[in-house]
């Protein structure tokens, strides 16, 4: 057998082992998923858990179907999703821009440093009532909630990453006569992409929190409203349905960020 063939053979074996490992992992993941829902269903039917409070998968499934047919779910989901995506993008974008501004002006960053610390430590959710009164109980104020919750932490994390970019990369560019903007574009920003992506991942979760709380406070539409309404009329099936839908769509958003990561960080 010639050596080239042998390497190929080994490579095939390696791939086979890899696939087998994957299959095993998938199997256990599915098993947990099925076990969770069947035990939940069973426990609810046998009254091991309070069915009024914890509902059951079958009841949630039924409710999902009614809500789908009467179109109210799609409407509520659409609103919340729009708010969350907008809040997420706005929060990340503004946070990154603010970080860029701080990087641009070291003096400004030193002046603003204590304020950032204070703003970061403060629970942004507490600003909710003020935002709602100031901007009105509508989409704008809820998007603002989704954005404000992530903006400061984004600024801090991304700015730290900007600042920690190895100065020698900037030296290389400066020997070519690069302006500060060119340094930012060619070195500082791309070097920080990994950090920006991980803040994006955190922000997905944060913006959902902001938007749902915003809807608790003000809205008459959206998934947050469905939860608060379900709570008020003691319909916990509705609450759990909303929760599961949020889980699914938050995961999808997370996956979208991972897709972006693959596009942005090619050398990873």
């Amino acid at each position: 057998m010639n050596p080239k063939n042998e390497t190929e053979q080994l490579h095939l074996q390696y791939i086979k082992r890899l696939n087998k490992g994957h299959k095993q992992i998938r199997f256990y993941q599915l098993l947990i998923f099925l076990a969770f829902f069947s035990i939940w269903e069973l426990a609810s039917r046998k009254n091991w858990i309070d069915p009024l409070l914890f509902s059951s998968p079958s009841k949630i499934w039924e409710l999902l179907q009614t809500k789908l047919t009467d179109g109210s779910l799609a409407a509520n989901l659409g609103i919340t999703l729009t708010e969350t995506v907008l809040g997420f993008i706005l929060g990340t974008l503004l946070g990154t821009c603010l970080a860029a501004l701080l990087w641009w002006s070291p003096l400004l960053s030193k002046i603003l440093d204590p304020y950032l610390v204070v703003l970061n430590a403060m629970p942004k959710i507490a600003l909710g009532p003020i935002l709602i009164v100031a901007l009105g109980p509508n989409l704008t104020s809820i998007v603002a909630m989704g954005a404000i919750i992530s903006i400061i932490i984004t600024t801090i994390v991304v700015f730290t990453s900007f600042r920690e970019v190895d100065h020698n990369y900037l030296k290389v560019l400066q020997t070519f006569g690069a302006t500060r903007f060119q340094c930012f574009k060619e070195a500082v920003l791309p070097a920080s992409f990994p950090t920006i992506i991980s803040t994006l991942k955190v922000n997905v979760g944060l913006s959902w929190v902001g938007v749902i709380v915003g809807e608790f406070l003000a809205s008459s539409k959206g998934l947050g409203y469905m939860i608060i309404y379900g709570f008020q009329v003691f319909d916990f099936t509705l609450v759990l349905l909303s929760l599961l839908i949020i889980a699914v769509f938050a995961t999808l958003m997370y996956q979208a960020v991972e897709l972006l990561e693959k596009k942005l960080i090619k050398n990873g």
């Binding site: 990369y169 020997t175 006569g177 060619e186 791309p190 960080i265 050398n267």
Partner: protein
């Protein structure tokens, strides 16, 4: 007056708790086409002096003039290769070597072809779309050299470019750099810890003394050595002679501190 003139340069680093005098009283004249090496103990200010020449830091006193102009200006025509390669890990090799022309706005088809040809000359092929971390240390050094040469600088500053390489690769690269620079008649300053490398590659060796760095002594490399390639020079009797002299001089520097 020479091509590059260093006029009475002093430099001190300040931090909150200390003031480190790094350079004192540096006066050098370097002619066009000359290859000069800086040799000296670690921490004597060689990198600092290169940064000053490149215009990256402002000396506390004195000035560096290239072709009669202060080197602090942008577009100074100086290529500076740092102590490590510092290739941008997020850029492909092609993007890395073309970053200089891209930054100073001279990137066009001719320059691109020229730079790619240079890469070829360095025996780097089929790496254009690779990323730096896919290359070996020696390959990365060569790419960094191409990147530095891409803007066609009048003066090259090389800070220990071969120190991280194995001996064989280092010898090969020395030959390559030496022949490339001779062909294009480049003026260059090489910082090195390796006495042999300094002798084999340059016309003049400047020996720096310990902190604060001063020029302790200047050695002229004999004409017959200069004409040889670095590899051949290492086998010439005159090489050994000069090696011994510089070695003794370096040793006499050490115990003072």
């Amino acid at each position: 007056m020479g091509f590059l003139t260093l006029n009475d340069i002093h430099h001190t680093y300040f931090t909150k708790t200390s003031a480190t005098p790094a350079l004192r009283n540096i006066n050098i004249d370097i002619k066009e086409g000359e290859f000069v090496s800086f040799l000296g103990p670690s921490g004597c200010g060689k990198t600092t002096l290169l940064s000053i020449i490149a215009g990256l830091i402002q000396p506390a006193r004195g000035c560096a003039m290239l072709d009669g102009k202060n080197t602090g200006k942008t577009d100074s025509g100086i290529g500076y290769m740092l102590q490590q390669d510092y290739l941008f890990p997020w850029k492909t090799i092609e993007e890395n070597i073309l970053i200089g022309p891209k930054i100073n706005g001279t990137l066009n088809h001719a320059i691109k072809t020229e730079t790619l040809a240079l890469l070829d000359k360095m025996e780097l092929r089929n790496v254009l779309t690779s990323y730096p971390k896919q290359l070996s240390g020696g390959m990365r050094q060569r790419v960094a050299l191409v990147r530095t040469l891409a803007t066609n600088p009048k003066l090259l500053l090389l800070d220990e470019p071969f120190s991280a390489l194995d001996y064989q690769t280092k010898l090969k690269l020395e030959n390559l750099v030496s022949s490339t620079f001779k062909t294009f008649n480049k003026t260059a300053i090489l910082v090195t810890h390796d006495i042999g490398e300094a002798i084999a590659m340059s016309n003049r060796v400047l020996l720096f003394s310990q902190r604060p760095g001063k020029i302790h002594k200047i050695f002229d490399v004999p004409e017959n050595l200069r004409l040889l390639s670095p590899f051949e020079a290492r086998h010439h009797p005159a090489y050994n002679e000069l090696f011994q002299v510089i070695w003794k001089e370096l040793e006499s520097l050490e115990p003072e501190e």
